[in-house]
Subunit: 318 residues, 2 copies
């Protein structure tokens, strides 16, 4: 038999996505589970992970002895080498060693990294950025994540804190961002940023079908898609604004890094990536140095919601 | 005897700075020479370099046989590996192989790189950034140059075009930059950007001692120093604005890269670096993510106008 299965997780603030890959890198089992219900302390999140892995093994029918490793992406600043979550905005983890208990429990190697970093790794190894060397990834979801592959290696900077260019300031007098700054890319172009604009316009008495769908400051991407299809005017304005600032930020990253490719991923892109890419492409030349623009491609993620799952797989491939 | 001398050059659009280092990395001879007078074609710039090196050898009294190598920083996009200047904004070079003729003429290795990249290398090897691993360098001069050292290696990106974050857009509706974009850092914070502001204010009839000193769109840094000392109001506004946008750009680079250190160099910093650093430090916390700010230091260059010369030396040291 041999150790042929890789168990890969995408741990979010509210849900865990799981997949088991066989030795041909085919997904043989999938699982999606809410996490919030199980409580808020570190040990409980750990228990959720253990519970999810146990359930995946049980339901898929594979044997524990056939697992070669477990890997995960999670939000936050993560010491990938040591498997320690240093801080996380959405999970109750501070300097939390998650590697030791998971490896002890399952007896196989466990790898963990920042979810967007891992997602960009996934696109690099198996997706839209395969074959490129210098990669800038924007992940558009509830927030705005960033990931950098430089000279073929994930770049994590000093203390694993790099690639937060979702918090690049594009207007120092712009709207307040959750991070405390004003006018960050995230404040314009994430689901939170677009939701804030939509609620603001609804508050002025304008009709928009997306306002009612906003819960805890965000809409689900499928409702964004519906509203765009229905040509909801306020939604279209929010998207135009989001894409305008994404184009500026893309230009800035192109001028800064001179990457081979810029990849856009995350839930919003999975839902309406074609519209976003079209709008960004229509504007981005204005915000790139003419000498740099010709040597960079812009693409949407190829793995959709599975970018992180595949990135986790790549961490086990070494 | 032996080959103990390194001949190092800082080739600018209008002048060449030269230095000969001995085996203890002491400068034993210096030269400064205007380049413009000698014509505008590639062969002439090459002749100027050859003339400068010849003159340095002659005047310093060293023997040609004692030279171990020649190295230079020059403005533009430069293939450092091959010694080819791909494009240059200020020199008449396009896809120009400068390495071959210089090596042929002097019979020693010749290295060349982008001047700001080489300047940041100099600060990394011998200056303010010594001992750090991830370094963001801003060079404030006529324009605004950038250099990135990542994991201890100069990062040049795809086709050697990286680190143009002087053209990071901080206000898409801002003043026009020489590059064609609007609201670039360079348009606010370089000598060109500050000069444009000062001329604009002078045009409104405001008194300022710096306006008369602006030639071809720029002032000399020594006049900036004098005007600040005299508390010239318009100059102080231009500097406040320059430092405000430098602080925003610094925050953006800190959030993007999570460097160990940000170094400010170039002519303006050599002249009034203490004032710039103080103003940037007073504001930068607003534009950094709180989790990232504590692990980065901000410093002015230690080598002053010699950053590029020392960086050139480091290229010969391998």
């Amino acid at each position: 038999m041999g150790k042929k299965y890789s168990v890969c997780l995408d741990i979010g603030g509210t849900k865990v996505l799981g997949a088991i890959f066989d030795e041909n890198k085919e997904i043989i089992y999938r699982l999606k589970k809410k996490t919030k219900e199980s409580g808020d302390d570190s040990a409980n999140v750990e228990q959720v992970i253990i519970g999810v892995v146990d359930e995946m093994i049980r339901e898929s029918g594979i044997k524990k002895s056939e697992i070669r490793g477990i890997a995960a992406g999670a939000p936050g600043v993560i010491d990938q080498a040591k498997g320690i979550v240093l801080t996380s905005p959405n999970l109750p983890w501070t300097n939390y060693d998650i590697k030791t208990p998971i490896e002890k429990r399952f007896g196989v190697p466990f790898q963990i990294g920042n979810d967007v970093n891992v997602g960009v790794l996934g696109e690099y190894k198996y997706g839209a950025a395969k074959g490129y060397k210098n990669i800038v990834g924007f992940f558009v979801g509830t927030g705005m994540g960033g990931g950098l592959i430089l000279d073929g290696t994930l770049f994590t900077g000093n203390q694993f804190k790099a690639a937060e260019y979702g918090h690049m300031i594009l207007d120092p007098e712009g709207p307040l961002c959750g991070c405390g700054q004003r006018g960050c890319l995230e404040a314009f172009s994430s689901k939170k940023g677009m939701s804030a604009y939509i609620l603001q316009q609804a508050g002025r008495g304008r009709e928009t079908m997306l306002a009612d769908k906003i819960e805890n400051g965000v809409f689900k991407s499928k409702y964004l898609k519906k509203a765009l299809k229905a040509q909801d005017a306020v939604t279209m304005e929010a998207v135009d604004r989001a894409c305008h600032y994404l184009a500026v930020a893309t230009g800035n990253m192109i001028n800064t890094i001179s990457p081979d490719i810029v990849v856009y991923g995350g839930g919003v892109i999975e839902a309406v990536g074609d519209i976003f890419l079209q709008k960004i492409l229509a504007e981005v030349d204005r915000y790139c140095m003419p000498a740099i623009r010709p040597s960079v491609e812009l693409k949407t993620a190829a793995l959709g919601d599975d970018s992180v799952i595949y990135g986790a797989l790549s961490m086990l491939e070494g």
